[in-house]
Subunit: 258 residues, 2 copies
Amino acid sequence: MHFNSEQRLDGGVLEREFVLGDIPGILWTPADAPTSTTTTASATATAPAPLILICPPPLGLRKMYPRLAGRARYYAAEYGFAAATIELPGSGERPRWDAAEQARADLRRAMEAGEPVGDEIVDALVLPLVEKAVPEWRAVLDALLSLPGLGGPVGYEGGLISLGVRLALVEPRIAAAGLFAGSLVPAAMFEEARRVTIPLHVLLQWDDEGNDRQASLDLFDAFGSEEKTLHANMGGHTGVPRFELESGARFFARHLTR
Amino acid sequence: MHFNSEQRLDGGVLEREFVLGDIPGILWTPADAPTSTTTTASATATAPAPLILICPPPLGLRKMYPRLAGRARYYAAEYGFAAATIELPGSGERPRWDAAEQARADLRRAMEAGEPVGDEIVDALVLPLVEKAVPEWRAVLDALLSLPGLGGPVGYEGGLISLGVRLALVEPRIAAAGLFAGSLVPAAMFEEARRVTIPLHVLLQWDDEGNDRQASLDLFDAFGSEEKTLHANMGGHTGVPRFELESGARFFARHLTR
């Protein structure tokens, strides 16, 4: 993991851009967090900060930066959490692959025509992306948790719900997840959802123009977790109320801090 | 309004039992709230505390006291809200009436037989209760808001969702409401729900043994409020997680404090 820029944001939060192999990402740490190995001694004196992995939607980190940085800065400044994000495969400047481009084009065509999005489009769009992304998130997690001041419990949140489902299932270091309900979910992911057991905090936009409400409710129902909460709010896909940022932080605080 | 007992609870919260006519009730006020007219001068110096009306389920105040007092004490000690509750008509020691007793017996019979609860049972059970209760809550509100230190914005919360719907519609002093989703709701209340416009915070227990999930979701959908949030949690009717108490308080804080 190589850091190639850093800046201090409001509240003293340190923002550092990094690359791991060919994966670009951003790490945010609270004002008082140790940042180099010379501070290891004092770092071990206090419990390491929880780390929230924030998965962007597949629209590119640059485009999503204001929203991602806003969330991360809030978590760091108000709750003392570290937060990190990486570019998804095929997003931003990262290389595309033909099958994904084809699936995106098919999705656009179906949505513009007002047709239902077929299972084969959803599978082609989501399953290879999840397959590629999971090992990347796990490798980044390895690297992040070896940094001074990190190494605490891990939460995941993100808009690509299938990736959240898979990571919640296969990555035991993730102790709690905040998910954004969507209906572009391969049927196979419902089976995986039934086997998820970590606490979940699921946001649903009641009048989401891109997602079917009943399918989102069905996916929430499918999760095997004993503690799962659905927060449904009015409005369209991008209309999540600002107060849900605090709700999410408090959910992570309940599960990631002692 | 006549006060007939008072005690200090944890956190200095003052609990006072009262009667208004033949309606018994309880008022809780924060430790530093003025309690007599001699303190009116200092009371006017600070904004009056928000008041939360907590409607008990129709099981009697004595039986529900621990839960009601726990909520009220939390609101008063942690948020500085006043809170009050009254006995519903036909509950506790208050006189029964024949039609309500008949409707309760019909409901029990249907539920024990595992039969669907017919509309005529729901109407007979709920509509007269709402008709009787609404003027009582409004009269108690008049009396409470004339007390020193009260007179601020009002929130309502309660388990009898039809009463919440009606009060939200007809009582303009209620600025926000926390409701517990249920399906024993007269069809006529859906029409009233469409005309409700105040912010709502609705709790739903996903596996509520006494309520139909889809009917509860339909009622949430029906509310006309621009800001309404549904919090769905796992478990049965009485299994609302403890953290929802804080969620509710923060909802009221957003809408009742400046």
